[in-house]
């Protein structure tokens, strides 16, 4: 379990990084937290000829928050975002979901943007980005940075819309509308494992604390995060007594999971329903308490 030979680059600026990436093209890979890439190298499942280490690009280690939401720079580690008060206020779902990523040691190294680019169908953050309708910011030498919507970014298992030579510089997580609340619920075999099934739910309430809209995004039940609109099942119902099971049924019907060594497809579909119902209930409760707090 030793990686094959590669050339190591440590650019000192984003511009320099983009130049190296442009030169190495298909043969180059960005090294961020290394929590996913290094195991792949060691198992010789990936063998890039060049590694471009972005860990020295302090300019990417930013998590600015504003009225629009949270912009997570490419070097911001999971742990930093998880505990960032501004991010928690603007997009509570970020911290809720990150808490279920691996363990502290992994979260201290792994980056939010790295996780998004890696596009693991069992990873939490792609679902969060999809649920919130966020965007990825991608830069490359000689071109204008491009923005790709979450819905277009996740293409397949471990496959994103990132092109060779591109660096993902940030991910933008929009602030959910006032009066909404969120929850993340997942089931993992062991504490910190990738989820057998996971779901994020965003519920918006009206002034009478009735559901006005609700959306979910599920992981580990398809090649990419599966968005599900739950509004039909919940709209107009009280925040503390809606037909959560109906929301669950919508989710279960929307997913197309597969059997694997940890769980059957049928069980995963069952979980999609159960966990969506649970998450919707919590999200509605969170929305209500936010509304009450601001009232």
């Amino acid at each position: 379990m030793k990686p094959p030979v590669f050339e190591y680059h440590r650019p000192g600026s984003v511009a320099e990084a983009l130049d190296v990436l442009a030169q190495t093209g298909h043969d180059g890979k960005v090294l961020a937290g290394g929590q996913s890439l290094v195991p792949l190298l060691n198992m010789r499942l990936a063998a890039p000829a060049h590694l471009v280490d972005v860990n020295w690009l302090g300019e990417l280690d930013q998590v600015p928050c504003d009225a629009g939401g949270v912009r997570v720079g490419a070097l911001a580690r999971h742990a930093r975002v998880e505990h960032d008060p501004g991010a928690a206020e603007a997009v509570p779902l970020l911290g809720q979901a990150i808490g279920d990523i691996a363990h502290t040691t992994v979260r201290n190294r792994g980056t939010v943007v790295g996780s998004l680019v890696h596009a693991d169908p069992a990873a939490e953050l792609p679902a969060v980005l999809v649920l919130l309708g966020g965007t990825m910011e991608l830069a490359s030498a000689g071109n204008r940075p491009r923005r790709v919507a979450a819905a277009d970014f996740f293409v397949g298992p471990l496959e994103s819309a990132l092109r060779p030579g591109e660096l993902a510089t940030a991910a933008h997580f929009p602030r959910p509308p006032a009066g909404s609340g969120s929850a993340w619920v997942e089931l993992a075999r062991r504490h910190g494992d990738y989820a057998v099934c996971g779901v994020g739910v965003l519920v918006a309430l009206d002034q009478g604390l009735r559901v006005s809209s609700a959306r979910a995004a599920l992981i580990s039940v398809g090649p990419v995060p599966v968005p599900v609109d739950l509004t039909d099942a919940l709209a107009g119902q009280p925040h503390d007594a809606a037909d959560w099971a109906a929301a669950g049924r919508l989710a279960a019907a929307a997913v197309d999971p597969e059997d694997d060594i940890h769980a059957s497809a049928a069980y995963r579909r069952h979980l999609a329903g159960v966990l969506t119902a649970r998450a919707a209930r919590s999200a509605a409760a969170a929305a209500a308490s936010r509304l009450e707090a601001s009232a």
Partner: protein
């Protein structure tokens, strides 16, 4: 005044070093050594047609590539079958490197030696092996069907077939008023030590001697095996087990292919060579255990008392049988636990499959045995609508019936005779600890809150401390240090602490003065190894006996010096004193000086000991004819048979009505391993054992596909429990001394693991209201069972 050390929960002295990262494990040694790596079969069954190394030769830093063609003499023969048995009629072992055929994914085909491991792996990748794949035998069904054979000359795939019987069990079952038939299965798991296997060899060409460091549970036997395989005289071979990062059984197997090949290459190349196993190699090229399927026929009376018990089981031994049939023999004989079975019959077939070999893993056949027996007890109780504890109690061997002869033959070839134990008292304690009688009230309360809970109980008896022998050497140095050496190895069990306690107590010195050396053949050459919960019993008693001899010698010499009778002396706190006249005393280190008359004085201490001052008569030789210099002794402990520890686990679980997740609310253990040397160490052993028991019950399995590929060969998909999955363990002890050994102790190393699958299956069944007959169980599987129950 003597400070007691036996029985004290003193902290493990090895921990500060190991916990702070100061351990010296195999891969910490031999920094400058060449690295070995192996080309391993990607097929479960194939003929090796050709090995083309030409592209590998381009790798800069490559030193050598070896295949079977390069092996000669004993190296070209199959590896030893370590424990032959008359019932193992078709035992087969592997060659160090594949000889034309591979029989499991991971079998080594070629060895590469290079400047470092990176380059060695580069070269491995460039070696092109042409295989002609064969259809593999995977799983017990395929092995039994025998449409294909793992070994051409074993067409039915049966390596061993064995029956043990006492009474006419089938007749007894047939004649019983009540009968049940059960099919009970357990899947594979593995020892999975955090440090894999590893070997580092140094050949001294001028001295013609070989030093081998191996991450092994038996350095003494590796030494003999290497001498035979490599054709090096035994006295030119030294084997050292450095710090070993866990063994749990897998490292008692030896010599592994890599364990002979690395020193062999070191000799051929005249260079140091090292190999440290990586995790994927450990999954596919070391050993697994537990895969067994049992059919139980049981006959019983109205009280649930066993009248006849007839157990047939199939054991999947993987591709080879280097460790013989120890595991199924243990299942067959330990299944009886604390019970009188009436008539008993156990029959097993041990079958070849194209999978990794099966050798003992902590518990070694007992977790399967406890699962079969304890599920049977639960089934009987359910059938009779009786309390599960009551049914067990009706079958207990009573303390007054000890020693109890089962009229069977145990794994050591000796009669299966329990030496002592108080099962009714153990049951009382566990019921009290878990609150057995109050559980129904808790269940109702939980049910009212929409929660599902269940309770389970499982008992076991464990034969521990198997022979044939262990020895120890104890020496008092002239600075007062006491050095204890045993040939037995250590893998984190706390031997440095426990053996120091035994020696300190036997010798009458403070425990801090005692240092312990284990597993180094330079220091002690004869030993068996650390397995089968035997170290404390075997080496513990040997240390006590050797220390006793040293003490006797110290008293004799001190008596001369103090001009008194040895019987009037005692040793306490490192001083030999006249009883009742403590001012007349002599320090043990001074006795050590007196014990060794010297020619040369090189410090103040030794000036006292030259032949010119030691007080023997001018006509007497400085060392008496029947004496030896030095205050030291060696002694041995060899028991007539094993001693039997026992225990009971009780568990409360909660199952999620929707997701079928299982949460352990309480995990209680009552344990009787005779006299305790150090309760803290015993607790630690129980905690670790429970962690592995929980792992085997709820998380771990080896997932082979129909092609014999192990689908979860990494820590990402093989789910060893984290600390967060292991429950808090509540323990209580009984101390029923063993009458078989001087210290009255029994083994404790494996106990915590044994009833894990049984007790969790019982508790989950109790929560769910249906019978679970297969372990481990995942939430997905539990949910599927619910769906089936609900129709």
């Amino acid at each position: 005044m003597t400070t007691r050390t036996m029985g004290e929960p003193i902290p493990r002295r090895e921990d500060p070093r190991l916990v702070a990262g100061d351990g010296r494990y195999l891969d910490d040694l031999g920094r400058g050594a060449l690295a070995a790596a192996f080309v391993r079969s990607p097929h479960a069954a194939a003929r090796v047609v050709d090995v083309d190394v030409s592209r590998a030769l381009e790798v800069d830093g490559l030193v050598a590539i070896y295949t079977y063609e390069d092996l000669e003499g004993p190296m070209a023969e199959p590896l030893p079958l370590l424990i032959p048995h008359p019932r193992l009629h078709a035992g087969r072992t592997a060659y160090p490197l594949a000889n034309g055929v591979v029989r499991h994914v991971g079998e080594p085909v070629a060895m590469v030696v290079a400047r470092d491991r990176y380059l060695a792996e580069d070269a491995c990748e460039r070696i092109a092996v042409a295989y002609e794949p064969l259809a593999p035998v995977v799983g017990l069904d395929a092995a039994v069907a025998a449409e294909r054979a793992v070994h051409d000359d074993v067409p039915d795939n049966v390596a061993a077939h064995m029956v043990q019987e006492h009474g006419d069990a089938r007749a007894a079952v047939a004649a019983a008023p009540h009968r049940l038939e059960l099919d009970l299965s357990i899947e594979r798991s593995a020892s999975m030590p955090l440090e894999g296997r590893g070997v580092y060899a140094r050949w001294d060409a001028a001295d013609r001697s070989l030093r081998v460091y191996s991450s092994t549970q038996t350095s003494t036997s590796v030494r003999f095996a290497l001498a035979v395989k490599l054709g090096v005289p035994v006295d030119r071979v030294e084997v050292v087990a450095p710090d070993v990062g866990g063994g749990f059984g897998v490292k008692i197997v030896h010599p592994w292919p890599e364990e002979v090949l690395v020193p062999w290459a070191a000799i051929r190349l005249g260079r140091e060579v090292k190999w440290a196993e990586d995790r994927r190699e450990h999954f596919v090229a070391s050993a697994h255990e537990r895969g067994q399927r049992h059919h139980v026929s049981v006959g019983f009376d109205d009280d649930g008392r066993l009248l006849g018990l007839d157990v047939e089981f199939l054991h999947d031994n993987g591709a080879y049988t280097p460790y013989g049939i120890i595991v199924p023999i243990i299942t067959a004989t330990q299944l009886l636990g604390p019970y009188k079975p009436g008539a008993y019959r156990a029959e097993f077939r041990s079958l070849y499959t194209n999978t990794v070999i099966v050798t003992p893993y902590r518990g070694a056949g007992r977790p399967q045995a406890a699962f079969a027996m304890e599920r049977t007890m639960d089934a009987i109780a359910a059938y009779l609508h009786r309390d599960r504890a009551e049914v067990r109690s009706a079958n207990f061997i009573q303390p007054s019936e000890m020693p109890y002869d089962h009229h069977l033959t145990f794994q050591d070839g000796r009669p299966l005779v329990y030496d002592s134990g108080d099962y009714p008292a153990t049951l009382d304690k566990i019921k009290k600890l878990v609150g057995w009688d109050e559980f129904e009230a808790f269940r109702e309360e939980a049910r009212a809150a929409g929660r599902r809970v269940g309770i389970g109980l499982a008992c076991y008896v464990e034969g521990t401390g198997v022979g044939p022998y262990e020895g120890a050497h104890v020496r008092v140095e002239t600075n007062g240090t006491v050095v204890v050496a045993t040939g037995l190895t250590t893998q984190g069990q706390g031997h440095e602490t426990a053996f120091a306690q035994v020696a300190a107590e036997a010798l009458g010195v403070p425990v801090e003065r005692v240092t312990v050396v284990t597993g180094d053949t330079r220091r002690f050459k004869y030993a068996v190894g650390t397995f089968a919960s035997r170290a404390a019993v075997m080496s513990g008693n040997a240390v006590a006996l050797a220390a006793g001899k040293v003490r006797a010698k110290a008293l004799r010499i001190a008596a001369e010096a103090l001009e008194t009778d040895p019987d009037d002396l005692e040793v306490a706190d490192g001083m030999v004193r006249v009883k009742g006249a403590p001012e007349r005393e002599i320090a043990l280190e001074t006795v050590a000086v007196l014990a060794n008359p010297l020619r040369y004085a090189f410090d103040e201490q030794t000036k006292l000991a030259t032949q010119f001052v030691v007080g023997r008569g001018a006509e007497d030789p400085p060392v008496a004819e029947d004496d030896e210099p030095g205050l030291e002794a060696t002694d041995w402990y060899s028991p007539v048979r094993s001693t039997f520890a026992n225990g009971m686990h009780a568990v409360v679980v909660e199952t999620d009505p929707e997701t079928a997740e299982v949460r352990i609310l309480r995990y209680c253990v009552v344990h009787d391993c005779g006299r305790l040397i150090n309760p803290r160490i015993v607790e630690g052993q129980i905690h670790g054992g429970v962690a592995q028991g929980v792992g085997g019950a709820l998380y771990e399995r080896m997932v082979y596909d129909e092609n014999g590929q192990l689908l979860n060969a990494s820590f990402m998909d093989f789910l060893m429990p984290y600390a967060s999955e292991v429950p808090k363990v509540e323990t209580d002890h009984l101390e029923t001394p063993s009458p078989l050994n001087p210290l009255g102790i029994k083994g404790a190393g494996e106990a915590g693991t044994i009833p894990g699958a049984a007790v969790l299956a019982a508790a989950i069944s109790d929560a769910e209201g249906f019978f679970i007959d297969t372990m481990p169980i995942s939430p997905s599987e539990l949910w599927a069972l619910r769906e089936k129950e609900d129709g």
